[in-house]
Symmetry: C2
Subunit: 174 residues, 2 copies
Amino acid sequence: MNFSLSKSIEILERTPEVLITMVQHISTDWTSNNEGAETWSVYDIIGHLIHGEKTDWIPRMEIILSDKTDKTFEPFDRFAQFEESKGKSLSQLLEEFKKLRSTNIDQLRSKKITEENSNKKGIHPAFGEITLSQLLATWVVHDLNHIAQISRVMAKQYKAEVGPWVQYLKILQQ
Amino acid sequence: MNFSLSKSIEILERTPEVLITMVQHISTDWTSNNEGAETWSVYDIIGHLIHGEKTDWIPRMEIILSDKTDKTFEPFDRFAQFEESKGKSLSQLLEEFKKLRSTNIDQLRSKKITEENSNKKGIHPAFGEITLSQLLATWVVHDLNHIAQISRVMAKQYKAEVGPWVQYLKILQQ
């Protein structure tokens, strides 16, 4: 499957509603626990997605499409959510993510991205030149990655409860 | 986290809406492709979930709670969906799953499962004695497993499109 802006937006615009349907108003046993030391809870993951909306995808797109000579991205802070989410409920985070994503999709649509400018380049601080279409495809896969992670974090809370079925459930072995 | 009927239902009752939100009316590029030979597309997975609603979870619960002397489960057919889904659209499958799940949750609630009868046992054809609570916890984890799988199958369609980011996205390496 080749990169397509409209097919990318199909996924990006669904993610907030997918997450709300999955985890809003469920017991905190599912959303506050993680997979062990140095891992994230559902709550942490939603905070991480919010930080991405603010500092990653759209700001990087703007750099690529700008006339700047230095198109190096700011490194992304993978731990910002531990400070930024403080004092907020999961519902508040979900609503905040939904609002930011909606604005960002409007922003994305407003750029009238064509095949030509989707090949424009920026510089990733770790691995160098990347194209706009690679950035946008990564945004989509990043969403799906975290939906899968959320499913896994919740599944792990029942690891001891499934008994011998643990051997059939790949998600519990990851 | 210990087994809880109400916390299990929180997940089970959300799954149809989660799947509808994720994949109904999106391009078939996302839902008809799989991860390679001997793997399943999103369409195949929804068919598998339907077959589970019909032949797995509730029928096995009924066996456990029955007065039968032989409480051995029927083996589950992991390939039934290839025949049963034939001629149906993805939307039809999603609606069918939603309806079956709703009926099955009503059925589950009607059993008034207590701590006592959640320890009642059945015989799994492969690994022997299991309890009702293990069966029900597995039902929940099985849902989450397939939500994660659906996310992964869709993410893989963009594997070549993310460029050097492939190394950061664990979901593309599974």
